[in-house]
Every structure is written in C-alpha cells, then in structure tokens.
Symmetry: C2
Subunit: 383 residues, 2 copies
C-alpha cells in the first residue's frame, strides 16, 4: 500500500486545517472546492473546482481518492449513497451523516436510543406550533418555542425563536419540514467531541464550555470550568454512544445544553471537525483534525488528552477593518505565546475569518489573552 | 497592507514544513521547485517549477513575492545580490547567507569576531594538508585531518577525514577551494538554534544534543542532557552574537562540538530551519518553522521555550521497505502520543524521508519511543 489520497469535499476552513494536519502524515489531499479562492483551495496543491451537488462532479472527483470526507454536511444524502454503491469509502457514511444533515432524523434516532433531548416534534404550520407550545409542562402558553428547518441551517441560520403563533410563519415559507423544540432554560452550553474509526476505536476529548453570541460560537474553554465530574463523564459517554449507535466515522461534535437542574440535553450534532474542537490544535496532544484524518483512514487514533491546564479558543469575526494582518504586530508582540489561525477569507462583518488559541495555568489570564487578541484582530479593541 | 506572499526557493522538506507552519498565519506561500513532485510541491497550491541557478527564473519567480527565503543554501550569491538590487527583500540576505554557503568565508568571519572554531585554514594540495597537520600542537604527524570543499557540501557530502597525505587527493579533484580542519576530540555534538528578525529581535531555543550516524543527523535530544548551565548559556549567547554580527534574518542553526576539556567550537552554520530544530514542531511553544516565517516577515517572534521536559527527534531514513505507510498501524497503535512527520519522498536507502518526535518527563522512555518508531518505519525493527 502506498500513501493514500484523502478526498475532501468542501473548501472551507475545516478543509484547510484538515489539510494542514494531514501534511505531517504524508497523506495526499485532494480538494473539491466551489471556487479556486476558497479557504482550503489557497493552500492545497490538488484542487478540483466544482459543484458538490452534482453527482457526476462528485464521481469524477472521487476517482483517484481512497476515501471521501467532508468540510460540511451539505452533500445530498442520495449522492453519498451513489458513491458508496460505486465502491468509494465515504466517511462518515450517508447512514451516519444523515443525522447531521436532517434534524428530524437526528431527533427521532436519539429518542430511539434513549439520549436526552429538548422536547420536540415536527410541526406543520403556525397553529401546530401553538399546539406544541401548549403541550409543554411549563406555565403560561408554553412560548417561546425554537423552530428549525430540518435541513440547511448552521450558525444560527435556519433557526427562529418565536414568542407567539403570529411570529411562527417565517420558518414555513421555505417549504422544508420544520422542527419545534422547547427553549431550554440552560446554564451554559457544552460540547463533547469524540472521534471514531471504522474498526470501532474511539477517543473522547475533554468536555468544553462553548459560549455563543447571536447564535455563533464565540469562546470555547477546555475543559469546561467547574463541571461536575460525573456530568462530564456522562457527556463523554453519551457522545461515544451516539458515535457508535449512529455508526459515525471521523469527528463527532455533540453540542449540549447544561440545564439548571443538572441534566444535559443534546442540542446539535456535527460529523466533521467542529468549532468547539479548534482548541485541540494547540491544547491537545492530538488535534481534532489529525484524528479526523486518522479515523477516515482507519488508522489508530491519537491521544486526545490536553497538554495544558486550560486552553481557550476565541473566534475572530470580520469587523470594520478589512486588514487584519497589520494587527499581527501588536498581537504577537503583546503575547509571544498566542496562536493565530487565519482562514485566508475576505473580511465581512460577522463572518468567521479565523480564531486564536491561548493556553496556560491561570484561566483568567488565558481568557483575557485570547479575548484581547481576537478583539484586536477584529478591530473592537484598539489598545 | 494585505496578507503577504512568502516566496520559498527550494521544494524540499524544509519548505514543506515551513508552508505547514505558515498556513495558520494566513500568509500566501509561493514555491520555486525543481520538479512538481518535490516534497513541498505536493502540498503547496502556488508552485513554479524552475531552476534556482537561473537568474531570469528567479526574477520571474520573485515578481509577486513580498519576501524571498530558502529551503537550502545553494542559490548563487550573485543572484541573491541581483534580486536585492531589484528591490526584493531576500531573507537571509546574501551578505549573511554567504557564511552558510562558503565555509572559508564563514571561518574567516568567525575568527574575526572571536568565535572559537576548530583549528583550520584553506589548503592548496595534499602536501599542504600534511603541512597543516604538522602545524598542530598534538603528538605524532597531526593526522587525521578533516577536509571540506568550501561550497556544496551537506549531510557528510563534501567532507573527508584523511589520515595521510596520500589520502588527501580526492577533495582537490572538484577544483573547489578546500578547507582543512583539525579533527576535534569532542564529547558530543550540540546545536544552538536562534531566530532573528530584520528589526533585531532574536530568540534562542534551548541548546540540544545532536547525534550523528555516518555524518547524518540521527537523533536530537532537547534540551541537551546534563549540559553545564554556564556552557549552555555560552552556546546560546554565541549563536545570538553570530546571528547579529552576520546580519542573519530567519532561523540560524549553529552546530557545535563540545570538547573533552569543556570548550564549545563551531562546526557548521545553517541559515534556514534545520534538522536540529525539528523537535520544536511538537516540543516548543513556537516551532522553528513558524518563527522563521515570522522573522522573514519582520513580525514579532514567538516564544521558543519548550512545552515538555524532554523532546526527542529521530530521523526516519529510507531502508529496505519502500512502503512506510503500512508501518503506521503498528507505530500509532503502540504509541498514541507519537508525532510522525513524513516528507512525501520516495524511499531510497539512507535518504531522509521523515522524522518522528516524542516528548515526556522520562528521557529514557521518550528516547525509546522515538527510536522504536523510526526504526519500525525504516524496517530495521520489526516487532
């Protein structure tokens, strides 16, 4: 056997960072990218520009790849089945990936295997949303309710929080089935990241705290501070069980709500390297990207344990200043231990264009350094 | 200012790993490679295939680069001066780089600034070698003597150890000036790695022990075990002073002999990321590759301190088995903390095709893990 070719569908930052992690392993990386300017296309040698929604394009791309994996969950499930029928290993496979593509399928499956989720059901129209709200055991009319299109949402897109039947019209306009969920009264959001290989080996990263701003991940703290040990263990076991039951291969992020009454409920699943695992690049013995590559190639997985007491990741969002490079001088001089990860993307307000990692023994210090650097790069901090 | 383009001359593994380290910084990387199959050309998007010995090729390549740096020291000095005259920043510049290109120039300059070197002088023919040998203060006839062509040698090539005047003919056949040096009675070899930026900031990595086999680096231990603290400090200061006096920009490796009588003597200089600094990829807060990129862009340098008590690097040389990938299963399963760095090169006996890094608190354990993995990948260990 010679060194294999990993085919990556999607040219975003996850593909870029997976390529980066694959270089030391000597594996060959082939990219299917929407444009030659995409984040990963800038740094990969072997790039095919094409539309992942077109089966012929996918089939052409897959020729010469030893395995296909993904930067995103948007490849139509039926195309993945067609590739599998052609004999191409698709990892994660369509039977697993559908749970990250379709929130309705995901909820049904988690119910079936007894994994705790927010109260939920598919709803048909605004009146049905009001009925769903009233079915709750809370006080009042049961609003607010969270509505999600079952396919196509991410980073707060395709998600609505509605306070009345009247507000519930918009989600139904797209003609996609809509899932209603109780709005969970959570203390904070957590994420349990695990990686699983085809032969069934799995590793769990420490459970992290994930802080969102306007529905977009802002800060991740690893490990989650003051997390009850039993709860942390339960979250890791839950993520490992989901990976196994759903037949996940590669990285699985399980986004969780920690409720006021000490429960954990599954919010979302992602079957690829995930924003809540970016801290592992500098904070863990083996990064999520390296372990994703090892998993899809069915290689033994690397040690997921942390290398520092605390690691903090803060996303760099596009701000008013298009030139982030000039901010490097200040950020690097201020903090020689700072780890910058930029994606090569044009700066647009609110767009994720990079992240920073910091680590150390003192959480306050580690948090301050990461927040300062991200704020300075974005332009919201100027000193 | 937008994100700059770093032009890297040479497509070897140093370029490959520098590209890997540059990806997170969002810098653009442009490669001048001998062939499209070179180690770095496999993983870089923007590759120009051409001959670095041709000035027109270099000039075309340099257009569109914000700075030029190097994977090797073989670009003719006069071409570098021509690029500088064109207004292209060349880092390290020709006035510095010539000291890594020409061992005669290097020895003369180190003498002039008072840096201790082995006894040496340029010799003209075998009889002059015998005269050089007799000039020593040792007993007998002063042989053996080390002979080096002043340009073009590396990894033991261009170096001869001769025991008599009769053996001294070969080095003169190439028509390149020959440098004679006393054969130093050393305890071990050390390396002091430093990085310097154009505005004069400099950082020093801990001094390492470098173990050679047949003139090729085999094992590096960071930091050098049982090294006298004062000697370590002297070595770091010496490397920083050489970097400053020679105007080095980027990474400088100073290869040293530690003598039986407690002195350190400079063996060789390299002005690029160096084999003795590969351990920094997994063992230091900032790798030599990341700091080289930062230096050539005149960005503040990253923290060079170690992240582990001990880090060991062992080179993977080509052996009898052409298929190293199949060895991953065993190596990764045996040691989930192992860090493999392969260069994408065809396996040829004795060729450097990769290296492994291990780190931890117990040096014996860290050494055993690295040696086992490198030996297994090479095929000299089979269990």
């Amino acid at each position: 056997m010679t060194f294999p070719v990993v085919g990556m569908v999607g040219g975003g930052q996850l593909a870029r960072m997976t390529h980066e992690a694959g270089i030391p392993l000597g594996i060959r990386f082939k990219l299917l990218s929407d444009t030659p300017q995409d984040s990963a296309a800038q740094v990969v040698s072997d790039v095919v520009v094409g539309d992942y929604r077109d089966l012929d394009t996918l089939r052409d791309f897959a020729r010469g790849c030893d395995v296909i994996t993904f930067d995103h969950e948007h490849v139509p499930t039926e195309h993945l089945r067609a590739l599998e029928a052609d004999g191409i290993p698709v990892r994660p496979g369509p039977d697993a990936l559908v749970h990250a593509q379709d929130k309705g399928v995901m909820r049904a499956r988690l119910d079936a295997i007894g994994v705790p989720c927010p109260r939920h059901r598919i709803v048909t129209d605004p009146a049905d949303v009001a009925a769903f709200a009233a079915e709750g055991d809370g006080e009042g009319d049961g609003f607010p309710v969270v509505l999600k299109t079952v396919r196509g949402g991410y980073d707060g897109k395709g998600v609505w929080v509605v306070r009345s039947e009247e507000e519930a019209a918009a989600p139904f306009l797209a003609g996609v089935p809509v899932l209603a969920e109780e709005k969970v009264d959570f203390v904070r959001e957590l994420a349990a990241n695990v990686v699983r290989s085809p032969h069934g080996q799995a590793v769990a990263y420490p459970v992290v705290e994930s802080q969102q701003v306007d529905g977009v991940c802002d800060t991740v703290i690893a490990p989650a501070p003051d997390l009850d040990e039993a709860l942390a263990l339960r979250a890791e076991e839950m993520a490992l069980r989901i990976a196994k039951e759903l037949g996940v291969v590669g990285h699985l992020a399980v986004e969780l709500f920690e409720t006021r009454d000490g429960r954990i409920l599954v919010n979302e699943l992602a079957m690829r390297p995930h924003n809540s695992g970016h801290w592992t690049q500098d904070g863990a013995i083996t990064s999520q990207f390296a372990n994703h590559v090892r998993a899809v190639l069915d290689l033994p997985l690397g040690d997921p344990r942390p290398r520092a007491r605390w690691t903090v990741m803060v996303n760099v969002l596009g701000g008013d200043y298009p030139d982030m490079y000039s901010a490097y001088l200040h950020c690097m001089a201020r903090d020689p231990q700072l780890k910058i990860h930029m994606y090569g993307k044009d700066v647009k307000p609110g767009r994720k264009v990079g992240h920073v990692n910091t680590y150390g023994d003192d959480l306050d210090d580690v948090l301050e350094r990461a927040r300062h650097a991200a704020g300075y790069l974005r332009g919201t901090i100027t000193e």
